[in-house]
């Protein structure tokens, strides 16, 4: 069992500071890249990481990663849907949590390392498999005549930063902290209604699927085994996703407002392989 002594907490503090400072540095670099000037501005010791002096070379020498995981998502929001001339329908959520698999693909490159943390930056896209939201439709706020369900599939794309913290004396293991922000394409689909009264009430089918681009963020904590096979490493970790709010499409002109998914979240266990 790994022992977490005072030095470990110091490392965590340094990592957080590194994230802040490095993000600032990246902005400067983007405006006017000048290795020399940057070196002067940078308080960190880059001598241990020669690659940080050659940004383009680092990008070219980055590592692709492939991810596979299992997640549980929370989506769906009880809400009232106004209909022209009617009191309207209450869409109540009964089942907002669902699980599925995720896959991801990313590309990270090393840059701006310190003695206690090695930083990686990159882009990481995920496909979070379809999850389902279920509930009841209370028509005219009076009769629970229909049930409904729809599915959400998320395609978040993150601009990510990854901190790799060597684990004490052993070089073969790192603690990994991930942060990322970016757009998420929320794809709602498979909206269905079903009669709850033996077919007396006919499903309205007033919504259909829609793609919505929303803001999304992710954070993760993992354990990385370096050089598990040649240069490949394996990472196992927890990921939190903020997936934003998607919506469905109105398919009937009598419907005044559309159905929204509410803010979605997902908690995932992810295995990553870097090549």
């Amino acid at each position: 069992m790994m022992r977490l002594g005072p030095s470990f907490y110091q490392k965590i503090l340094i990592i957080i500071c590194s994230f802040i400072v490095n993000l600032n540095s990246a902005a400067i670099l983007a405006d006017n890249w000048d290795e020399k000037r940057y070196e002067e501005q940078n308080d960190f010791d880059c001598t241990l990481q020669p690659a940080c002096f050659n940004f383009l070379a680092e990008i070219a020498n980055g590592e692709p990663i492939f991810q596979l995981g299992w997640f549980t998502a929370t989506q769906g929001k009880s809400q009232h849907v106004d209909i022209e001339g009617l009191i309207g329908d209450d869409f109540e959520v009964n089942h907002s949590s669902d699980q599925n698999l995720l896959v991801g693909i990313g590309y990270y490159f090393n840059w701006l390392a310190t003695s206690v943390v090695r930083m990686q930056y990159g882009i990481n896209a995920f496909y979070l498999g379809s999850t389902e939201v279920k509930g009841h439709v209370i028509q005219e706020d009076l009769f629970t005549n229909l049930s409904y369900r729809y599915s959400c599939t998320n395609y978040p794309i993150y601009f990510s930063a990854k901190a790799l913290i060597p684990c004490g004396m052993c070089d073969d293991y790192d603690i990994v902290i991930d942060l990322g922000i970016g757009p998420n394409i929320v794809n709602t689909h498979s909206f269905k209604e079903k009669s709850l009264d033996g077919g007396i009430t006919i499903p309205d089918h007033i919504f259909s699927g829609k793609n919505t681009v929303v803001f999304s963020a992710t954070a993760g904590l993992g354990w990385r085994i370096n050089h598990i096979w040649e240069n490949h490493s394996l990472e196992i970790g927890y990921r939190f996703f903020y997936l934003g709010q998607g919506e469905l499409k109105k398919v009937n002109n009598q419907v005044k407002n559309t159905l929204r998914t509410g803010n979605g979240y997902a908690n995932a266990l992810v295995i990553s392989i870097s090549i």
Binding site: G85, L86, E92, E140, L142, T144, T201, D204
Partner: protein
């Protein structure tokens, strides 16, 4: 103390939240509408929507009646565009337009119910209030979508509106809807101003012509000008039979096609196809009548005043495809047949019923081909002193008719023959022994067969109400009208009233509020030579008079008061004035 209040407030909030939560948890499914139905029919599947425009929030219902009373179950909310859709093919809602989704829209709430009337299908006729002269191919004369504009308790007035121009000897009207009304006439060549068939589109508010298409001028070509008829099939085209022709017009009055018909053993100029009928699959059926060769008398008078009106060839029976306007079948009947063909469906077969001089025959119509039914051979039912029957009317399992289409010396019989068994034949003389007004008796002193005293004359067919099992017969010489019913023991009188008419009667209104409408010749005038008419509305179940029009000019003889929308009716004056009749309480 403050802490106590705080806990109490929190407790109250918790209770309230539980209450709301509980309410949501225990909401149940339920019906949006309360529906009650009268006028029993076989079960119909309908959809009712709180929003018929969507349609949204809609449910399936089964009703077993045609007259529906509908309210909502949701309190304190009015639904301005609720909707009803009938899943059974061909059924529709009276007086309401249909949306593209098949819904009929109406306003309803929990305390303001709406009453809707379902109109059963009427193939092959266009789904309007009147597309065929006698509503359906069975010639019932029941127009279920038409209503009575007055009060059923009586004390009604009847306002009239005269057309600004004449439509000579107007015969019948057909509608695509309330604003698309057409009149056919001109077929009474014995009436001044009638020079052959015309069709016109009439403006519903002014009664002026929107267009007027004179199809033929018989005053120039000398052909026999005898009434045909007009009808609109489900294709929306107007079909008109006149002389030995069948014309197909669109709603703008443009002739799409005209078919010249074979004339059998007579010359074309002496041939007329008096109207037409159609099978449920839309095949047109036509039958010829003839003027005696060498006789130049015009109009219906030729059937009475030519030297020997019976000296004519046997009639021919045609079937025609209205799409191609081509003849499918052409047969010669065993004898001259005067009455118009009636078509009924029985045991999944479609028959055309025809009346010969003393009995009746029927042909099965199969894909337009005529097949004589030798199993249906009623015994002769026209007695000595009686004359030909007018057209059959189909009433449930029966076909019914009345004798004496020409003046007769024997009281008329109402005849009912079972469609399944022609040996089941009932006869009844509703006006036997009824006195004849002296002036009428004198006018008809030699009008009977072989110059005998005529005591009976019924140039119109009966009307029949299948839902109420009532037959309406008339005799213009005693000046009576009667309602009969068919029982297990035969025909029985229900009521009889004083009314002198030479026209067909019209039945309007729903099954439970049926109204009988017909003309009434003023007392001193002689039927057939009258110059005036009244129009009378009666409670069809009791014979009680509900309304009477002001004195009107004489109606075209042998026609019918035409039903129209909104409780109004049309009266086709023989001299050509079209009159809208508007009864009101």
């Amino acid at each position: 103390m403050q802490m106590h209040l705080l806990f109490r407030s929190l407790f109250n909030a918790l209770c309230l939240s539980m209450l709301f939560t509980t309410e949501n948890c225990y909401t149940e499914s339920g019906l949006f509408f309360d529906v009650s139905a009268t006028e029993t029919t076989s079960p119909l599947q309908i959809k009712l929507a709180l929003d018929g425009q969507g349609p949204l929030s809609y449910q399936n219902y089964t009703v077993d009646g045609l007259n529906l009373t509908i309210s909502t179950t949701i309190p304190h909310h009015t639904y301005p565009f609720a909707g009803i859709k009938i899943d059974n093919p061909g059924y529709r809602i009276a007086d309401l337009p249909q949306t593209k989704d098949g819904y009929y829209l109406f306003s309803v709430s929990d305390n303001s119910p709406v009453t809707l009337l379902i109109i059963p299908p009427n193939p092959p006729w266009y789904p309007s209030l009147e597309a065929f002269e006698h509503y359906n191919s069975g010639r019932s004369h029941v127009f279920p979508e038409a209503t009575f504009g007055g009060s059923y308790s009586g004390n009604n007035t009847v306002d009239i509106l005269n057309s600004p121009m004449v439509y000579p000897s107007g015969y019948n009207m057909s509608y695509l809807g309330p604003n698309d009304l057409f009149i056919y006439g001109g077929g009474y060549g014995d009436v001044a101003g009638s020079v052959g068939a015309f069709v016109a589109k009439v403006a519903p508010t002014t009664l002026g012509p929107i267009w007027y298409n004179q199809l033929i001028n018989t005053s120039i070509n000398g052909e026999w000008d005898y009434p045909g008829s007009m009808g609109i099939l489900q294709d929306g085209f107007i079909y008109v039979s006149y002389g030995y022709r069948l014309a197909k017009l669109n709603k703008n009055g443009v002739i799409i096609d005209t078919l010249t018909l074979p004339t059998g053993g007579a010359e074309p100029k002496n041939t007329s196809f008096n109207g037409f009928n159609a099978t449920s699959d839309g095949i047109i059926v036509m039958k010829s009548v003839y003027r005696q060769a060498g006789c130049s008398i015009q109009g219906p008078d030729a059937l009475l005043q030519c030297p020997d009106p019976t000296d004519v060839p046997a009639s021919i029976l045609l079937s025609i495809n209205p799409q191609t306007m081509r003849i499918i079948d052409n047969i010669t009947l065993p004898a001259p047949v005067g009455a118009r063909p009636t078509i009924g469906r029985f045991n999944e077969k479609e028959y055309v019923y025809l009346l010969e001089p003393t009995t009746a025959i029927r042909y099965e119509v199969r894909e337009g081909k005529f097949i004589l039914d030798n199993s249906w051979t009623p015994e002769p039912f026209v007695s000595s002193g009686q004359t030909l029957c007018t057209s059959f009317v189909v009433m449930n399992d029966w076909v019914v008719a009345q004798t004496n289409t020409l003046p007769a010396s024997t009281a008329l019989d109402v005849i009912a023959i079972n469609q399944g068994d022609s040996s089941k034949l009932y006869k009844f003389q509703p006006f036997e022994g009824d006195p004849i007004p002296p002036l009428v008796e004198e006018a008809f002193s030699t009008q009977g067969p072989d110059g005998t005293q005529a005591i009976s004359w019924a140039p119109m067919s009966v009307s029949a109400d299948p839902e109420n099992n009532l037959i309406y017969a008339s005799d213009s010489l005693p000046g009576k009208i009667a309602a009969l019913t068919i029982t297990a023991g035969g025909l029985e009188m229900v009521w009889k009233a004083e009314q002198t008419t030479t026209e067909f009667t019209t039945l309007i209104g729903s099954q439970t509020n049926r109204v009988l409408v017909g003309t009434d010749i003023p007392g001193p005038e002689i039927p057939g030579n009258n110059i005036n008419d009244f129009v009378v509305w009666r409670n069809a179940a009791t014979g009680e008079e509900l309304a009477r029009s002001p004195l009107l000019p004489a109606m075209t003889q042998g026609t019918m008061v035409q039903p129209y929308y909104n409780g109004n009716m049309f009266f086709e004056g023989q001299a050509g004035t079209l009159i809208k009749l508007m009864p009101a309480p």
